[in-house]
């Protein structure tokens, strides 16, 4: 057994408790934007709804830009064992936060557009926004989340496949970079809808 393998195996015994605590943290943070959205709708505050939409959308985009532009460079220079250690912490911590930010940004955007009477499904700008949202959601639900779950499963094994964990984690980080590109395009569409 190599030093890397023994490090990973020793870590896997305590990783379940650690993963659970990070998941709980992620869940608690993820509830904040959802409750903020509920409150803004309950008190019928258009101002608060707009604030939540901009804040969640901006945070989502910023996070993906950070992952795509910074983390890919950082991860490239790490060995497999170090990448696995990053994946162990990064995957559970972002597991609920990212879908929550994305869902609240999209939902509040739809509510805002309805409220402003610009939610016309025949408008080319709304269609373009819809297409980008479908791409982002498809990537999120079709690749990000399954990869995250596969990493959890692999980490719970007595002998986790470190290459597989590293590969899945890198896939997610690179994908976040492509998500950032689509989000920047989406913000361009949003700016047009807001001004014209």
């Amino acid at each position: 057994m190599t030093k890397n393998e023994s490090t990973i195996e020793a870590g896997s015994s305590m990783s379940f408790v650690y993963t659970k605590s990070l998941l709980l943290w992620s869940f608690v943070i993820a509830l904040i934007p959802v409750f903020a959205l509920i409150i803004s709708l309950a008190v019928k505050s258009f101002y608060l709804l707009q604030y939540i939409h901009v804040l969640t959308g901006g945070t989502w985009t910023g996070f993906d830009l950070f992952m795509g532009l910074v983390m890919t460079r950082v991860m490239k220079n790490l060995d497999t064992a170090a990448r696995v250690e990053v994946a162990k912490r990064l995957t559970p911590t972002t597991f609920f936060i990212m879908p929550s930010l994305a869902s609240v940004a999209i939902a509040s955007g739809i509510y805002l557009a309805s409220e402003m009477d610009i939610f016309n499904i025949y408008s080319p700008w709304i269609i373009a926004a819809g297409i980008v949202v479908i791409i982002l959601s498809g990537q999120g639900f079709g690749i990000f989340m399954p990869n995250g779950l596969r990493i959890f499963i692999e980490l719970s094994k007595p002998k986790p496949d470190s290459e597989k964990i590293s590969r899945l984690n890198m896939q997610n980080i690179r994908l976040a970079g492509s998500q950032a590109f689509f989000q920047v395009a989406l913000i361009l569409i949003m700016a047009h809808l807001a001004v014209y």
Partner: protein
Amino acid sequence: MGERLMNLGALFAILIFFLVLLGIFGAIYFSASKAIRHGEMPKDGLHVLKLAFLGHIVIFLLLIITAFLA
């Protein structure tokens, strides 16, 4: 704001996403169960999957509430 009883479009979209989520978790849960039966992983892995699924269900239920408030 909030003149209608609910935002049907939003409710429909959230339900679609929820069904997709169910499908993804179902597929991964199935493969994880198979790995447990073959002794490739401990039951803890399934427990983490259940927690992850439960967390997403709570988030989706809260989002469904927003469709009734909008």
